[in-house]
């Protein structure tokens, strides 16, 4: 029975492909995010490999200047928005409800919508290679992105797909904020939250505040390009520096959005494999929050050479140097965690430790460009990509990889191959350093960034060649990783619920978890409640039923839905309609897409209620 005039019933226990298309289960959505993000990561890696091959020797002609400029733009945009952020989202989705003792997120359909919208944005961006991708750098400085300078559609695809991706990220962040605040198991106070959930919470707050700024910047750019507005029009008094301010007010919190979840993962893995709690839990949480707040005060360190003047540069030097303090605190606390512990170095632990080692290097080079005086010689040279890749590759990617191995048993129900895992680790460690450390050298030796080739005799030949060779070591590592994942997921040995003697709630349920996650919603008595339960420190109580039911019957679970996908599809079509706004009838495609989106939204809000008999867990 429904109140919607046309009764469109919800899908009932769909199977196969339809199951995945209409799913609203956070665990499946997490896997969708993870697999998609990994494919995008590979595409970004191919872009990087082509770049490095082109730069292996001076004056090579493997790719043209025009293609190279598209490569570095797409590589940066892909890695940040299509790889690292969604990999983080994969973990938010899969892990957070399990860690807080919930059955799903606050808004399961919104969750699905976030994934499909992300996929839409990703597809749109990657397809833009056809016909010429954007080539103005991932940061798209005005006026290089103006319609005069860049009349092609590449920039438009970049702008609009970023807007679509923004919608996805915002929707997901709203969902996780409400979930973490409002769906915690009884007794799970904020200061008993696992660190990964805490960092993800802070990340989500950062995201909902930072993304609107780039949304506005992109809107302003779009209006300039399409309708001849004057936001970045120097001839009418506009300032191109405004773009940079808006972009970096978003851009700097964005890098903390990239790294905080990774730090959260490390803060989970280290305690488990040292058999010790995180050293200074409160301090680490506070440090994360302080980083998030201070992250708003440093953006102009990306603009030290733009000519803001010595006073502004001095202020931002000081604020940027100060943000090194909470970051350092975390590193020291991590060492404090393993100190005096019983350390087992398996694959997830190795990657987590590798993160600390590599992130430290990236942090130190970061301190070097924090000081405006020395940054004048480093900005826009290879010294900066060196820093970037130490914090994002040796940092974020290593931590995310640690998370993949750590939670692999939980999401797949199987154990991965440990030997292959360690081989992957060593290849990644060595490859990362061989590829990116030499960039410090050539950068300080005067090699600018974003150049498709360089002359002989500049002294840069050797280290560029070394860096390129390092890429192949990394590729070997990824090949082993993919093999391990596929092989283990298909036929690895079955994993118990708690293979690692873990500390947090996700290890108290079977691997993989049943659809309803917890048979009984746990009552939490302390931080690391599961660990304490095992050590005998807690008395486990049967919870009072709050509609959560028992023995898996009468557990009220949300049912799958078509409408998130339909809404995302509408957005996708509308987005293409903006880029191709003169095709057929002007703006027709956008109008159709918007209409479909509205149908999706209305149907979604008026969707028939679940039949209680239908949705009991099976």
């Amino acid at each position: 029975m429904s109140t919607f005039p046309i009764a469109i019933p919800r899908p009932v226990h769909p199977t196969g492909l339809w199951n995945w298309i209409t799913t609203i289960d956070h665990k499946k959505i997490g896997i969708l995010y993870g697999v998609t993000a990994f494919i995008m990561f590979i595409s970004g890696g191919i872009e990087a490999t082509l770049m490095r091959v082109q730069l292996a020797q001076p004056e090579l002609d493997i790719v043209s200047a025009a293609v190279y400029n598209q490569l570095f733009t797409m590589h940066g945009t892909t890695m940040i928005f299509l790889a690292i952020m969604p990999l983080g989202a994969a973990f938010f989705n899969f892990v957070i409800p399990l860690q807080i003792g919930a059955r799903d997120v606050a808004f399961p359909r919104l969750n699905a919508f976030s994934y499909w919208t992300f996929l839409a944005g990703a597809v749109m961006l990657k397809l833009s290679w056809i016909g010429g991708a954007t080539d103005a750098g991932w940061f798209g400085y005005a006026p290089l992105t103006s319609i005069d300078q860049n009349p092609g559609k590449g920039i438009d695809f970049w702008i609009i797909s970023l807007q679509v991706l923004g919608v996805a990220s915002l929707a997901a962040s709203f969902n996780f904020i409400v979930t973490i605040i409002n769906m915690r198991a009884p007794g799970m106070t904020m200061m008993r939250l696992p660190l990964f959930t805490w960092m993800s919470f802070i990340t989500a707050i950062l995201l909902i505040l930072a993304f609107p700024v780039i949304t506005v910047a992109l809107i302003e750019l779009t209006f300039d390009r399409y309708f001849d507005f004057n936001f970045f029009n120097v001839a009418r008094g506009g300032s191109v520096v405004l773009w940079q301010h808006l972009f970096w007010v978003f851009g700097h919190p964005e890098v903390y959005i990239l790294i905080l979840p990774a730090m959260g993962i490390v803060s989970e893995v280290l305690p488990v494999f040292s058999k010790k709690p995180l050293f200074g839990y409160t301090t680490v949480v506070l440090a994360g929050a302080i980083i998030a707040v201070m992250g708003w005060m440093v953006w102009s360190h990306h603009m030290f050479t733009v000519g803001l003047g010595p006073v502004a540069n001095a202020v931002f030097t000081i604020t940027t140097m100060l943000i090194a303090v909470p970051t350092g605190i975390k590193v020291f606390n991590w060492i404090g965690t393993i100190w005096g512990g019983s350390i087992k170095i398996n694959t997830p632990m190795a990657f987590a430790l590798g993160f600390i080692a590599m992130f430290l290097i990236g942090g130190i080079s970061g301190v070097m460009h924090a000081v405006s005086a020395s940054d004048a010689q480093q900005q826009d040279t290879y010294f900066i990509p060196a820093h970037i890749h130490y914090v994002l590759f040796g940092g974020a990617i290593m931590a995310l990889t640690s998370g993949i191995y750590y939670w692999f048993p939980k999401f797949s129900g199987r154990m991965y191959d440990e030997k292959m895992g360690m081989a992957h680790f060593w290849l990644m460690m060595i490859g990362q350093n061989v590829t990116f450390f030499p960039m410090h050298f050539v950068g300080l030796d005067g090699m600018p960034r974003r150049i498709y080739t360089y002359a002989e005799g500049m002294g840069w030949d050797l280290w560029n060649l070394v860096a390129t060779l390092g890429v192949f070591i990394l590729i070997a590592g990824f090949a082993i990783f993919i093999l391990n994942m596929v092989k283990s997921w298909k036929s690895g040995p079955e994993a118990p619920g708690d293979p690692w003697d873990g500390r947090t709630l996700e290890w108290s349920i079977p691997s993989p978890p049943p659809e309803y996650n917890f048979k009984e919603i746990p009552v939490v008595r302390s931080l690391d409640d599961w660990w304490n339960t095992k050590q005998g420190g807690n008395v486990k109580e049967v919870p009072v039923a709050g509609g959560s039911g028992d023995e898996g019957h009468n557990i009220h679970l949300p049912q799958p839905s078509y409408w998130p996908l339909v809404t995302a599809l509408g957005l996708f079509i509308a987005a293409y309609g903006v880029v191709f706004n003169q095709l057929f009838i002007p703006w027709a495609i956008s109008i159709i897409g918007t209409f479909i989106g509205f149908v999706g939204v209305y149907a979604w809000s008026l969707e028939p209620v679940n039949d209680p008999d239908e949705d009991s867990a099976h």
């Binding site: 000519g307 404090g336 350390i343 430290l360 050298f441 030796d445 002294g459």
Partner: protein, 383 residues
């Protein structure tokens, strides 16, 4: 339990580890050694190295770098050592053993908050002096000023005319400065954001349209310094370079006077033919041969060619016409001019000449072999 004899930390770490861990430690030490050697392989003589500061601004900036590097290296060694030490000393020896569940140590955490805070504030405050120093020419010394205007993908340079304060001498891609005298450079751009960077003399400042940026540097010794655009500015960003030539003040005055003199009129018949071709095929539409322009006037699309044959490099630092001693070698110059005229896109992909000049866009109007030779002769005569 094996008792540890007093072999010192590293000795005990090395000998008591299992074989695998020994190998791992060795490998890591090797890696660190190799990487560290790299630090010594950086060639300060490399053309754009920041490690050979030849002027006070670059020098101050490098000093700041060294201080932070030392600080960073100390932190790196201490933290990595603590990490590796912990990994070895506290490695798991038995699955049953549960270590003491320490939750933190407030005093320690406060300590490692306050000390780093003091250190970073110290470093940043100490660096502010260098920041203000590099912002503008020292007030108490005489200096010269010149304009650097960024174009896609070449540098226009203008000097105040020695004869007329309302005029400027216009040149391109090669900028001469007098040794030992502070030089203020006003930075502008006619299209997108570029950046003016001569690593051996100073860190970069961007050339932003309508922002009125400026920077300064000073060369402490005579020589040729490599510069390169350091802000991504489109297709041929990689091909936008320039040279700074520092000469004695007397030589500088002479150079400026030569540059402000009208273009040489050669008597050579082929060169005269070339002058005709220059006009008839439209080169003069984009390339001015007038050396003097009104102050603040808008430049042309292409570099001023009045004295192109006096420049050691062509196409914004892309082709070298100099002999070993820094003089222009006519044979090289002619070869380079010919290469450029035959196919500019090969030297500078996406360049505006190839995309806008009729001789490149219209197959019927392409330059003949004869026309190219004439142009080469003409341009070579423009000393």
């Amino acid at each position: 339990m094996v008792t540890m004899k007093n072999r010192g930390v590293f000795g005990s770490v090395f000998i008591n580890s299992s074989r695998t861990q020994k190998i791992i430690l060795l490998l890591m030490s090797l890696a660190v050694a190799v990487l560290a050697t790299g630090c010594f392989i950086i060639d300060p003589n490399a053309n754009q190295s920041t490690f050979e500061p030849l002027g006070p601004v670059a020098d101050r900036q490098l000093t700041i770098f060294w201080w932070i590097l030392i600080g960073g290296a100390v932190v790196f060694v201490l933290v990595e050592a603590a990490l590796i030490y912990a990994l070895v000393k506290f490695r798991r020896r038995s699955e049953e053993y549960v270590p003491k569940q320490v939750h933190g140590n407030t005093r320690l955490e406060l300590l490692w908050t306050i000390i780093p805070a003091i250190v970073v504030i110290g470093f940043s405050v100490a660096s502010i002096d260098a920041l203000f120093y590099s912002a503008d020419v020292p007030k108490d010394e005489p200096s010269i000023t010149l304009e650097a205007i960024g174009h896609q993908w070449w540098f226009e340079f203008r000097y105040p005319s020695p004869d007329d304060p309302e005029s400027e001498v216009v040149t391109a891609n090669e900028v001469y400065i007098p040794v030992g005298i502070p030089v203020r450079i006003n930075l502008e751009s006619v299209d997108v954001i570029h950046s003016f960077w001569v690593p051996k003399l100073a860190g970069k400042v961007d050339m932003v349209p309508s922002e009125g940026n400026h920077m300064w540097f000073q060369a402490d010794e005579a020589g040729e310094f490599f510069g390169q655009c350091a802000e991504y500015c489109g297709t041929s960003h990689a091909s936008m370079k320039f040279k700074v030539v520092a000469v004695s003040p007397t030589e500088f005055d002479k150079w400026l006077s030569d540059q402000s003199a009208p273009a040489v009129e050669s008597g050579d018949p082929l060169a005269l033919e070339g002058a005709e071709v220059f006009k008839s095929t439209g080169c003069s539409g984009c390339h001015s041969l007038k050396t003097i322009a009104r102050s603040g006037s808008k430049g042309r699309v292409g570099p001023n060619l009045a004295h192109v044959a006096s420049r050691r490099h062509l196409a914004a630092g892309m082709m070298d016409s100099s002999d070993g001693a820094g003089n222009v070698n006519d044979a090289y110059l002619q070869e380079n001019l010919r290469k450029w005229l035959e196919n500019p896109s090969e030297i500078k992909p996406g360049n505006i000449m190839s995309s806008q000049a009729a001789v490149y866009t219209d197959p019927d109007k392409s330059l003949t072999e004869r026309q190219i030779s004439a142009l080469v002769a003409y341009l070579t005569s423009l000393k």
